[in-house]
Amino acid sequence: MDFSGWTCPAPLRDQPHIVMGHGGGGALSAELVEHVFAPAFGGAALAQLGDSAVLALGGARLAFSTDSYVVRPLFFPGGSIGDLAVNGTVNDLAMSGARPAYLSCGFILEEGVATATVAEVARALGEAARVAGVEVATGDTKVVEAGHGDGVYINTAGIGLVPEGVDIRPQRAVPGDVVLLSGPVGAHGVAIMSVREGLEFGVDVRSDTAPLNGLVEAVLGATKDVHVLRDPTRGGLAASLNEIAAASGVGVAVRERDVPVPPEVANACAILGLDPWYVANEGRMVAFVPREHADAVLAAMRAHPMGAQAAVIGECVEEHPGMVVARTGLGGTRVVDLPLGEQLPRIC
């Protein structure tokens, strides 16, 4: 591969191979998209770089999104790879304000995996689709040789309709916007870690995996003038806030004590040396709304079961454009950076 034509000031010249961090949802992932995928594919729709692309088709505006699920283990407290495969794509569509309608589902199975396991995953996937109110309309199955997969990988793609008058994308945040968070962060990542081989620890944390399209409907019921929605999955809350700050060029200021973190999540993260703001979620949403609508949106969120613990966590400011800064619990300040790749548990 010829790296000489790359324009990034810190290109991946010293990364001749893909490393795990390229899939971590942080800076390395973004660089891969910017320098490898986007130039190769082209296209205005891809350039939106949102969770889903919004496309004009036959007079309608369609949201279109795809995601692949490679989670280990396949079943974890509070959910399974089947739930994630539905909720992840439904939520990506919902984050553009769309009403998700149809999903595709591609299974990549590893030779030797128990048929009963596949059936259990499929059952969970079907149930999650029914809960989210979407239909699995088409699918595909492939089998790879033993040793070439982790049992079951799933890809889902989805489409949905974007209502008239709704324009939600990361570029639309402006100074003065209020930042809302739909509930406590970090539960999904900690639930997965708590049962991952080599790291099992006794903690009663269940994944927050859930569809967010109902919550988005509730928010849009309060006002259609929502600037940005984002579900903080890989890379956690910190990555999502950074992506929005970078896309819109505004500063994002958050108050550390206003970001809800369940005590069990905080304790597990403290033991592992992880920051809960960087831990993945699968059923949480951040919303950037104009100040005049913030109270109504917060009330609408709290009235919905998925947003009962919603909170205002900060605002957009003129200062430090493109960066996220937190006021610490003790009154100091700190930068909240985009994670490079994956968080690594510390040594001691």
């Binding site: 810190a10 010293d14 990364q15 001749p16 191979h17 893909i18 490393v19 795990m20 961090g21 800076a27 080599g198 790291l199 500063g251 200021a253 958050v254 108050r255 004590r257 005590p263 069990e264 905080a266 304790n267 403290a270 040396g273 900060g314 605002e315 400011v317 200062e319 430090h320 960066m323 800064v325 937190a326 006021r327 610490t328 619990g329 003790l330 009154g331 100091g332 300040t333 700190r334 930068v335 950076d337 490079l340 690594l344 548990p345 510390r346 040594i347 001691c348």
Partner: protein
């Protein structure tokens, strides 16, 4: 597990801060020994809240940062060999050797695994008798006992395909080296609580007396650190220099006798090179003669690895408290977590990483205390 919230209580923090402000009359330089303390200080903005007269100097206590480049290159060399299953704690994987890191070894086909305990590496050795399983044993007195236990178990169970690349370091000789430096300006130490939970406090009175320096054993939560600062300042203002234990919930004077016994059985004291600092006499541990068969350096004959330290990296001065990370000309420009020159920029306990993560505000790497823009309400 409710304690974490309690030890971050802003009202109690304010009381401690008020007392510190009321006590200080002169400038004092306090060194927090441990990188975990450094991250807590910077992450919570504690240094911004202390009186201007108090300067917190970041010490050498990041286990990943002080692991010599030569040892990392040996790890990379061993991990690249066919048939080797190389195990390490997670934050060692991103530390650059002379040109690459363990992540890149793995991407190129090496079998590098993140483990959370050295006993997991021993388990892998028993599950893979046809592979050579190597554990990268680094760190201070905190990580040494479980690593010693893994070697002890390997010997007891007779696991011939397990070995350890040992690069352990000890805190007291590092404190002595810092105090003996002609450039030293440390007035008091916040000793690393986790280290003392193993070793106790018995190693410190002689140092405190000899260098006439207060040593306060300090934990890692914001209130722990403020209490450590409060006690240090009280001693300094009163002209005293004793050892105090401000972390009694974790540290007993005698430490952990079982852990110390395990260390004495498996390891012996040796001279050890510290990355960026140089060799400090008696500052490390190696496997004792009885366990030498489990020494990966000998098993894989990597004694002659040559290293290439980046000339621009000033991590050694940072680790000795002679330079603040943002005062380095490479900080945030050629040296970032993305393109690190040294381990202090990538380790989760590295001082440069702490400054880069939490203090890189616009074009101003470190806003002066109380003078930065107020971004939140």
């Amino acid at each position: 597990m409710k304690y974490i919230e309690e030890f971050q209580n802003p009202d109690l923090a304010k009381r401690l801060l008020d007392e510190i402000h009321a006590t200080v009359t002169r400038p004092w330089a306090l060194m927090e020994v441990c990188g975990g303390q450094t991250h807590s200080i910077i992450r919570h903005g504690i240094d911004q809240l202390l009186p201007e007269q108090i300067e917190l100097i970041h010490g050498p206590g990041c286990p990943v940062c002080v692991t010599p480049l030569e040892m990392i290159d040996k790890a990379l060399e061993i991990a690249s060999r066919p048939g080797v299953l190389f195990c390490s704690f997670g934050d060692m994987l991103r530390v650059p050797g002379s040109g690459r890191d363990l992540f890149q070894v793995r991407a190129a086909g090496g079998d590098v695994r993140v483990v959370y305990s050295p006993l997991d590496a021993l388990k892998l050795a028993r599950q893979n008798p046809d592979r050579q399983v190597v554990f990268f044993g680094i760190g201070f007195e905190t990580t040494a006992p479980p690593n010693a236990m893994a070697v002890h178990q390997a010997a007891r169970l007779g696991v011939p395909n397990f070995s350890m690349l040992v690069s352990h370091v000890r805190v007291p000789p590092a404190i002595e080296a810092i105090m003996c430096s002609p450039d030293c300006r440390v007035d008091a130490f916040l000793a690393a609580g986790h280290v003392c939970s193993v070793m106790g406090t018995g190693e410190y009175p002689e140092l405190a007396e000899r260098f006439r320096v207060p040593i306060v054993v300090t934990g890692f939560e914001p209130l722990d650190i403020l209490e450590g600062v409060r006690r240090s300042v009280r001693q300094l203002e009163a002209g005293r220099h004793t050892v105090e234990n401000a972390y009694p919930r974790a540290v007993r004077p005698e430490g952990n006798p079982a852990a110390r016994a395990m260390l004495a059985d498996v390891f012996e004291v040796t001279d050890r090179a510290w990355r960026g600092i140089g060799t400090i006499p008696g500052s490390g541990w190696r496997l004792s003669e009885r366990y030498r068969a489990f020494d990966a350096e000998h098993r894989f004959s990597v004694e002659d690895v040559t290293t290439l330290e980046p000339a621009a990296c000033r991590a050694g001065e940072v680790l000795q408290g002679l330079l603040k990370p943002h005062e380095c000309e490479a900080f945030g420009t050629v040296c970032t977590p993305r393109t690190p020159l040294g381990a202090t920029m990538v380790s989760s306990e590295g001082a440069c990483a702490a400054y880069y993560l939490y203090r890189r505000l616009g074009g101003t790497p470190v806003p002066a205390a109380g003078k930065e823009a107020n971004p939140v309400g």
